[in-house]
């Protein structure tokens, strides 16, 4: 074991942080700051890849427990610690974070305005997201959760589009308010868990996820449901689920491309990650009717929380997909498609079955890769043609075949074409949904037809048909190297994991088995 005595998870946080500080420091030397950011994120990616291989070598028996755990006391009086660890759910996500951040930085090679700050903020963002996906202490988790907001706020507010002020403030306030609700949930469980042992508590104060999970399953059903609900609210706004989604399209439309890539590829996953990491295993009494969760009288066997999750998931899937059809801005369309796909993650989690949870996590991973391509290609189109409005575009395929090819692959992956990574995620989610809810499957599966409809229709209008007369296509350029390279890397992985989904699925399954059986 190479990594046995190396604090690799801390390194994954420190490296981009050091990079960020360095990038801020170099100030006006734009080129240097780009190089610093690229190197820092590249080394982080290397480490994350190493982690992935090393973790795999541990054998699947250990995927369900936390590995590379680092724990240091931080504020002893309040029971706050600096605890990091990864299991089979977070390892693929950690790698995805490192990959997307590296590619997003590469893709931003042409940023000229306040470059060093931009690069610094990208790296801070990486630190924040990486922290969320590795933290095993609620306090730390919350700190990272909030840290993420700040760089993203500035990325939108400084490098964003014309309505950037509105979008960035909306993004900040909306998700921050939701985080506060989550914080209330965290405090509630913290205080309840700190009760004396005879009252079913720990007997000491602790924010440690593992500590709290030891006793949280024994909380009263009311409290479990309330805390689960508070956490869930924080998470669904982040994911986001309809009807709490309106911050997302605005943020995406205004955000710079790399910001959108990270927003859709990573930030949304924080919400679904929270559900599977924290809410589901810690509070089984909120959703498991056999443990006394409130059972619906209309649908026996389903708990109310489960029904809420099903409704949110299915609603988001269909609502998001139908909204896509109406959009004229391709980036906004892609943003709504994210809502639709995150809805399928929610539906997958709502099944509370092994296949469902595994499929949901796989979908998070797959969607991360695919949205990377989608938002990058939106950025490329905007950059080359000066517009993202579908009615103004047309016939691009004959002028810029590479853009057309990348867009087609991205769209096809997103609509769930077999052979690409999205398919098995989607298919497994529907298998799980049928397994759990039988005929209800007929409703969410409509989104498959709808997603083909909006993507295929958008392609017809953007890529095919006669050349548009609205914009000058004579002098249009195809992709640059710094655009083609990240796109190609993503396409490579989309195909690789599409043909061989077991590469990722094998990490996930043992870990979700643990989540489902109440182990933390």
């Amino acid at each position: 074991m190479m990594l046995e005595n190396v604090p690799i998870l801390s390194l994954l946080l420190i490296l981009p942080l050091v990079g960020a500080i360095a990038a801020f420091m170099v100030g006006p030397r734009a080129k240097l700051s780009k190089m610093i950011a690229l190197v820092a994120s590249a080394v982080t990616l290397l480490l994350a890849s190493l982690l992935m291989f090393e973790f795999f070598a541990l054998g699947s028996d250990l995927f369900g427990s936390y590995q590379y755990v680092e724990s240091y006391e931080w504020i002893k009086a309040a029971g706050i610690s600096y605890t990091l660890g990864v299991d089979g759910i977070s390892v693929p996500m950690v790698w995805l974070i490192a990959l997307l951040c590296f590619l997003a930085i590469l893709f931003s090679w042409d940023v000229e305005n306040r470059t060093s700050q931009y690069m610094g903020l990208m790296l801070v963002l990486e630190v924040g997201v990486m922290g969320v996906f590795t933290a095993l202490d609620y306090f730390l988790f919350y700190v990272f959760w909030e840290v993420v907001l700040i760089p993203m706020f500035f990325l939108i507010a400084i490098w964003g589009g014309p309505r950037r002020d509105y979008a960035s403030i909306k993004f900040f306030i909306y998700t921050h308010v939701a985080s506060l609700v989550m914080l209330i949930g965290i405090f509630a469980m913290y205080f309840e868990a700190a009760k004396p042992v005879i009252d079913g508590g720990l007997g000491y104060k602790s924010f440690s996820m593992e500590d709290i999970a030891l006793v949280s399953g024994n909380f009263g059903i009311v409290l479990q449901t309330a805390v689960f609900g508070a956490l869930l609210f924080g998470f669904i706004v982040k994911m986001p689920m309809v009807p709490f989604h309106t911050w997302l399209p605005d943020a995406h439309v205004e955000a710079p491309t790399a910001g959108s890539v990270l927003l859709a590829g990573l930030l949304l996953k924080m919400g679904s990650y929270g559900i599977i990491r924290v809410a589901i295993p810690s509070f089984p009494g909120a959703w498991d009717t056999s443990l006394g969760a409130y059972e619906s009288s209309m649908f026996p066997g389903l708990s109310y929380m489960q029904i809420i999750m099903i409704v949110l998931g299915v609603l988001s899937m269909l609502y998001g997909a139908i909204m896509c059809i109406a959009q004229k801005d391709i980036k906004k369309m892609v943003a709504y498609s994210s809502i639709s796909h995150m809805g399928s993650v929610m539906l997958a989690f709502a099944t509370f079955t092994e296949i469902g949870l595994a499929a949901g996590v796989f979908m998070m991973f797959a969607h991360g890769l695919i949205t990377g391509v989608l938002f990058m290609i939106c950025g490329v189109v905007q950059h080359k043609t000066g517009t993202r409005m579908i009615p103004r575009l047309g016939g691009l395929a004959s002028k810029v075949p590479y853009i057309a090819t990348f867009m087609m692959i991205g769209f096809m992956a997103s609509l769930g074409l077999p052979g690409l990574v999205g398919f098995i995620a989607e298919f497994a989610i529907f298998i799980a949904a049928f397994n759990a809810f039988e005929w209800l499957l007929l409703v969410p599966i409509i989104s498959v037809a709808l997603s083909s409809a909006y993507y295929i229709w958008a392609m017809q209008r953007v890529l095919f048909g006669p050349l548009t007369k609205d914009i000058d296509l004579e002098h249009i350029h195809d992709v640059n190297w710094y655009e083609a390279a990240p796109l190609s890397v993503l396409v490579f992985f989309i195909v690789l994991f599409g043909i061989w989904p077991g590469l990722i699925m094998d990490y996930i399954t043992p870990a979700v088995t643990k989540v489902l059986t109440g182990g933390f």
Binding site: K170, I173, Y174, A188, E192, D199, G220, V222, L223, V242, P243, T246, Y319, I322, M323, C324, I325, A326, Q327, T353, E354, I355, A358, G395, A397, S398, M412, L417, P418, G419, F423, F427, A428, F430, I431, F434, N435, L441, L442, I445, V448, A449, L450, S452, A453, I456, W457, M459, Q460, L463, F464, G465, P466, L467, P501, G502, M505, D506, T509, T513
Partner: protein, 688 residues
């Protein structure tokens, strides 16, 4: 000879064209012919391997279970639900391998000539067509339904890309979209069916699913629904009513692509799927009632009839062929549904014949339809139009093409001894047989006979309009070009007066030979009849002579021949002798609305467009408004209320310490009350 080692490497069959896909895709520009020879070489190699494997399988060199299977694990879902990638070879696979690989190879060769003027774009063409062939071969060889579905979707992707090959034409882009979306509706149903079946069996591997014990143990009502939905996939893919309307539009692609889609790949996948799930269908039909099978037969019969009517007055040569494909596919589903029905009712012999006849027709159809399309392609290549009214009298300029197309037309019309006759006759015979047990099939038989009549009529209408009669304007330009010698250099090699290059006519001649003989060859060749080789349940070991005897001593055989001849004669008098004034009849007030309705494809095109543009898009626009003004409005409203409140609260900042103290005390009291309430509600124990 031991074929097992060859079966072991059957994965090479789909892989070779996929390698061609990669080579041409990445390096096609470097080849002088943009990868055409690479595609021919690798697709041809796949064909050779396919044919050898098929020969082995069809001559009884299969393992004793009747199939060969090998697989690797692909992905495991949850604990223990493994999906596989594998190879499954039985006689059904073998027939499909022959059909797909052979037709595909000829089409690729023909493409060298047909696509010659496309220049740089040929790289894209050969890339996509290699992928198309590869995934279709993969579909045929799959050893489980999920693998089949994966290739099924990829076949859909390729047809999308190739139908939209000339994507700068709005009509082509739109046709490609339509093909993808309409078949996608079928695919969603297929997916639902797969999920139901997976949930019942815990596996989608053929050998697990077709296990008698496993089949007996599952809930038959659920199984029925699963099969029903899976057939939905076939409806979309094989362009059956009511999802048939994409196929005529798909004519926007190059004619070679049409030939491939109609004869070998894409639409045949649906028929193959139904044939593949036959054990389930028959078992479920026997135990749970043959609802799904009757449904399949009805869809087939109705589609055959409706599509044939639409072909009656179509002015476009490719459209006529498209309708005829839909119609002939309808025959195949009719045969499979009927055969399954008979089998499920215990009529092993006649039911088995129905099943075999369906697959027999698939094979024969592949050859004569490829022939017809490629001939039409040669015509279009020459006259640069698809409108038959502008053609006429072309026989003089393309004697070979006109002859081979005549063979194709005779074959599809069902004139003995051409191939179409043998299978179509057997289909109608088994439907008639089923008619004695269930009145629905009697009706379907009548539809089938009527379709046979119309088929003969419209095929010969097409042939007469294209090749005989006065020269149309398009023909005249060809005549001018030849006489002025504008393209004399093309003819310096002294080819009679055939205006089509050899690379195109040779595949045509090969296909014509098959269109004549594939029916008879399959009857005699394998030392057994087709019915003794590709069968379900019990092979039918009649000798060829016995079979001939049973065919030609049956009165119905003569009925089907008679209607075919009648159809040809009607076309002869109407379009060759001009004894019947078609225009006058069409303009009669009683006929006109019907005539127009057929031209408008029964309004299906409009209906589809309405659903897409008005219903779905319209609804999405309404929802968009709702999203912007109601949901987002509410959120922004909350924001505004907060801002206003903040402004209002500014006035509280009086600067007087007393006021602040009062507010602090009051606030603390309120907070404590709230906390107390909250904790009581949550059941938190407040005792110290």
């Amino acid at each position: 000879m031991d074929f097992t080692s060859l079966y072991e490497v059957a994965w090479l069959v789909p892989l070779l064209p996929l390698i061609s896909f990669l080579i041409v895709g990445f390096f096609g520009k470097r080849f002088k012919d943009k990868g055409g020879m690479v595609a021919i070489g690798l697709v041809g190699a796949a064909m050779v391997l396919s044919l050898i494997i098929a020969y082995g399988a069809l001559t009884g060199n299969l393992p004793s279970e009747g199939y060969f299977e090998t697989s690797i694990e692909w992905v495991v879902l949850g604990s223990g639900f493994a999906f596989e990638l594998g190879i499954y070879i039985d006689t059904l696979t073998a027939v499909m391998l022959i059909v797909v690989s052979f037709v595909a190879t000829l089409v690729v060769i023909y493409s060298i000539g047909y696509m010659h003027e496309e220049g740089e774009r040929r790289r894209r063409y050969f890339t996509e067509i290699s992928l198309f062939v590869g995934v279709m071969l993969g579909l045929v060889l799959a050893n489980n339904f999920l693998e089949l579905f994966i290739f099924w979707e990829l076949v859909g992707l390729c047809s999308y890309l190739l139908i939209g090959f000339w994507f700068e034409r709005p009509s082509a882009a739109s046709a490609a979209k339509k093909a993808f979306l309409v078949t996608r509706i079928g695919d969603v149903m297929f997916m639902i069916g797969l999920i139901i079946v997976f949930n019942l069996f815990g596996s989608l591997t053929y050998t697990d699913v077709f296990n008698e014990v496993a089949m007996a143990n599952v809930d038959q009502t659920w199984l029925m629904w699963g099969l029903f939905f899976m057939f939905g996939g076939a409806i979309g893919k094989s362009a059956q009513f009511p999802l048939h309307d994409w196929l005529p539009d798909a004519m926007e692609g190059p004619t070679t692509v049409s030939a491939l889609i109609h004869a070998a790949t894409m639409v045949k996948a649906g028929v193959y799927l139904v044939a593949r799930m036959f054990p389930l269908l028959v078992f479920n039909g026997a135990v749970n009632g043959p609802n799904v099978l009757i449904f399949i037969a009805c869809i087939g019969g109705v589609t055959a009839f409706i599509a044939a009517t639409m072909a009656l007055n179509s002015p476009n040569i490719k459209r006529v062929l498209a309708y005829s494909t839909i119609s002939q596919l309808g025959y195949m589903f009719l045969a499979l549904g009927t055969g399954g029905y008979l089998l499920s009712q215990g009529e092993i012999e006649s039911g088995g014949l129905g099943y075999s006849a369906g697959m027999f027709h698939l094979m024969n159809h592949a050859f004569f339809k490829a022939l017809l399309f490629l001939s039409a392609g040669a015509v279009i290549h020459l006259v640069a139009t698809e409108e038959m009214r502008k053609m006429g009298g072309l026989r003089k300029y393309m004697p070979i093409t006109s002859l081979v197309m005549l063979i194709g037309a005779l074959s599809i019309a069902g004139i003995p001894p051409f191939s179409g006759f043998w299978s179509k006759d057997e289909i109608l015979a088994s439907v008639f047989e089923a008619g004695s047990m269930n009145g629905v099939f009697m009706l379907l038989y009548v539809l089938g006979i009527a379709t046979a009549f119309m088929t003969a009529f419209y095929m010969f209408r097409m042939w007469f309009m294209t090749f005989t009669g006065p020269e149309g304007e398009a023909t005249k330009t060809v005549a001018e070009r030849s006489s002025h010698g504008h393209d004399a250099h093309e003819h310096k090699k002294g080819r009679f007066s055939e205006h089509t290059p050899k690379v195109m006519t040779v595949p045509l001649i090969l296909l014509a030979v098959l269109a004549i003989f594939s029916g008879m060859a399959a009857l005699f060749f394998f030392g057994d009849t087709f019915y003794g080789v590709v069968y379900f349940d019990e092979p039918n070991h009649e000798t060829a002579l016995e079979l001939l005897e049973s065919i030609f001593t049956h009165a119905l055989t003569y009925l089907s021949i008679l209607v075919a001849v009648a159809g040809i004669l009607l076309a002869y008098f109407a379009y060759y002798k001009n004894k019947i004034d078609v225009k006058a009849i069409a303009n009669k007030p009683a006929v006109k609305p019907l005539y127009d309705m057929l031209l408008a494809r029964y309004g299906f095109t409009k209906g589809y467009n309405w659903i897409g543009e008005k219903a779905v898009y319209g609804f999405s626009l309404v929802l968009d408004k709702f999203d912007r003004f109601i949901i987002d409005g509410l959120i922004n409203g909350i924001g505004k209320v907060c801002m206003k409140t903040g402004k209002g609260l500014r006035k509280v900042q009086t600067g007087f310490v007393q006021t602040y103290a009062g507010v602090v005390v009051g606030g603390a009291v309120v907070m404590m009350l709230l906390m107390y309430l909250l904790m009581t509600v949550l059941g938190v124990d407040l005792s110290p």
